[in-house]
């Protein structure tokens, strides 16, 4: 046999072994991280975590104010970001499908999609926190809304483009104006996908820490006042993990576990939504 064959086979075997090793290497780290997270997080998980406020160092407590703060900020961010995102996506897929503006917006939107979130925090600090003179929950919500918008724009546009044109033509032939066609035909056909976009956006912002650090800041106490600094889970994790107190660090792990589960649940739901739509 030609010795070249042997060499090629050997090369192939080496490369394929490397790719197998790379996969084991990559998967290994991620399994390791999740295992530690589960181990550390579950050992601190109790009812107390959901019913009590963040404690001063050395005493017992939970994460209630942080969880509620996170929920409020997230909900408001979604309420602000989603309509803007859906409207912009609608323009790009419907009215302005072939407009130059659409191409530009798509490009810019893709950049916003992966822009560093800490820069968004600085931006909101400049336009909201500095003029208002104090940190506030609402500033945190707006910062997160800035992160919601690109995700929703992207998915809305993608999903609307998937709607068959025949549906639009049929509705238009009945004499429906464009606005009714979009709202009653296109949105309805694309709603599962659009909902997926919103879920993905929530998943993205629920773990975001950097934009909240200097917008919502943090709050040791129970507060639902949006005009005052507000506690949030990621910021509490950040603060507690870097503290020297063992019980604070324990709470940080538990908080990390809660966030991870929330994000995974949201992503899985989003995925299930899309795949159920495809099969039906």
């Amino acid at each position: 046999m030609n010795p070249l064959y042997g060499r090629r086979k050997l090369k192939n075997r080496i490369a394929m072994t490397l790719s197998l090793l790379a996969t084991a290497f990559g998967a290994g780290w991620l399994v390791l991280i999740l295992a530690v997270l589960l181990w550390e997080g579950f050992s601190g998980l109790s009812l107390q975590v959901f019913t009590e406020m963040t404690p001063p160092p050395g005493s017992d407590g939970g994460l209630l104010n942080a969880i509620v703060g996170s929920l409020m900020v997230t909900v408001i961010a979604v309420l602000i970001g989603t309509p803007i995102g859906i409207l912009a996506g609608t323009y790009m897929a419907e009215y302005g499908r072939y407009a130059i503006l659409t191409t530009i917006v798509r490009f810019i939107n893709d950049i916003l999609l992966s822009a560093p979130s800490i820069v968004v925090g600085l931006f909101i600090y400049e336009v909201m926190v500095a003029p208002m003179g104090h940190f506030s929950g609402i500033a945190g919500a707006v910062a997160l809304a800035v992160l919601v918008i690109p995700v929703v724009v992207r998915t809305t546009e993608d999903m609307l483009l998937l709607v068959p044109n025949q549906l639009r033509e049929a509705a238009t032939a009945l004499g429906m104006p464009r606005v009714n066609v979009i709202r009653h035909v296109c949105y309805r056909a694309a709603q599962a996908g659009m909902l997926t976009g919103v879920l993905l956006a929530v998943a993205r912002i629920s773990g975001e820490t950097a934009p909240l650090l200097f917008t919502a800041l943090n709050n040791q106490f129970w507060s639902t006042n949006l005009n005052a600094p507000m506690s949030s889970l990621p910021v509490v994790i950040f603060q507690f993990a870097l503290s020297p107190y063992a019980d604070w660090q324990k709470l940080a792990w538990t908080g990390a576990l809660i966030i991870t589960f929330t994000v995974l649940a949201l992503s899985i739901t989003a995925r299930a939504l899309v795949s159920s739509r495809k099969t039906s």
């Binding site: 086979k9 090369k11 490369a15 490397l18 790719s19 790379a22 996969t23 780290w29 991620l30 991280i33 803007i84 995102g85 859906i86 409207l87 323009y91 009215y95 302005g96 503006l101 659409t102 530009i104 917006v105 490009f107 810019i108 893709d110 950049i111 916003l112 992966s114 822009a115 560093p116 979130s117 800490i118 820069v119 600085l122 600090y125 400049e126 336009v127 724009v153 009945l174 429906m176 104006p177 606005v179 009714n180 979009i182 009653h184 035909v185 998943a203 629920s206 773990g207 975001e208 820490t209 650090l213 200097f214 800041l217 990621p234 950040f238 870097l242 792990w253 990390a256 994000v263 899985i268």
Partner: protein, 339 residues
């Protein structure tokens, strides 16, 4: 038809019916109302689309405005000075910039080959039934918040490195001319190397998922032809798949780079926040995002705050260029696949 859509169609039909029975005047009114609705909605969507552009413009303007005091005071020296002294209010950006670039560079050095090899495994070797679960797992992992990587790095990874890898590096390379500088100093655990490794682990799923998508865009005919003339799997990957998807891979890598450059939480925990440029990878350093995250809320005085915002502006400019290049390359690939 779904109920609500049928309702809508019925509504319009009824409206049309009403028009038929009433006079031409009211028909005109109805049409006018419909047209008005349409115009309003159209303009709303247009404004929202414009809003996305304004958002980006706003970010740029706000950052420039915020960093003006610092830029005015230090001028271009801001970019080349190492000092970072809040007490005497002398600031320079070179240490955080250096940290950002070095950590991202090392992270990509590790994550890119590994990510590409994983993508090769997923598209060529992996049994079909396993591809979907692994693919989904990767995408889910890409979505895990970075603070999780940070907290893991701080409590588990850094102590582990301090006891194993770092002493090993120091003792192995301690007498090698150049490398002894790179791996100098006591093993702190936290530092530039630790941050880079965590960044690598973090961007790995991201790069893998994009590379896999790009690999899957290769027309099966091309691969089949290569296999047909007797290529091994590796040769197919090396001489068909990778050349065909080169632009896409570079785009994906740059997207990953953009993410690594701007990453805050995973790095802040383990970098050590020391404002100095050090040749040793084991020494603590800082990155732009870590500096901002650590110091912004405690910054006293306009000049300090402004310097931090100026750092943010630098970071934004760097990532903007990287991301724009990445998108452009991915777009080129998309066009070729489409055309």
């Amino acid at each position: 038809m779904e109920p609500a859509r049928r309702q809508a169609v019925v509504d319009v039909a009824l409206e049309a019916g009403n028009v038929a029975t009433s006079e031409a005047v009211s028909r005109g009114k109805v049409l006018q109302r419909l047209r008005l609705n349409d115009t309003i909605f159209r303009n709303l969507t247009f404004l929202a689309a414009l809003g996305v552009l304004i958002l980006l413009g706003g970010v740029i303007v706000a950052l420039i405005e915020g960093s003006l005091p610092a830029l005015r005071t230090f001028g271009l020296n801001f970019l080349i000075e190492e000092r970072w002294n809040p007490v005497t209010e002398k600031f320079g950006a070179i240490a955080p910039m250096y940290g950002t670039l070095v950590t991202s560079f090392i992270a990509m050095l590790i994550a890119v080959p590994v990510g590409i090899m994983i993508a090769v495994f997923l598209t060529e070797l992996c049994p079909l039934w396993l591809r979907r679960p692994i693919g989904i797992a990767i995408e889910l992992l890409a979505g895990i918040p970075s603070i999780i990587y940070g907290i893991w790095g701080l409590f588990i990874f850094a102590p582990f490195l301090q006891q194993t890898l770092q002493p090993f590096l120091i003792s192995t390379f301690g007498n090698v001319p150049v490398l002894s500088e790179v791996f100098a100093g006591p093993p702190y655990g936290i530092g530039v190397l630790t941050a880079s490794l965590i960044l690598a682990i973090m961007v790995l799923p991201f790069i893998t998922s994009i590379t896999r998508d790009v690999f899957e865009s290769v027309p099966p005919v091309l691969k089949e032809a290569a296999y047909g003339v007797g290529c091994t799997t590796w040769e197919v990957v090396r001489f068909v798949v990778i050349p065909y998807t080169r632009v896409g891979i570079i785009g994906g890598v740059m997207l990953g780079l953009g993410r690594a450059l701007g990453e805050t939480m995973a790095v802040t925990f383990v970098i050590g926040n020391a404002h100095k440029v050090s040749a040793s990878l084991l020494a603590p350093g800082t990155t732009i995002s870590a500096t901002i995250a650590n110091e912004f809320t405690e910054a006293v005085g306009d000049l300090y705050t402004s310097s931090l915002i100026a750092l943010g502006l630098i970071l934004f400019v760097i990532t903007f260029i990287v991301l724009a290049a990445a998108r452009y390359m991915l777009l080129r690939l998309e066009k070729r696949v489409g055309g």
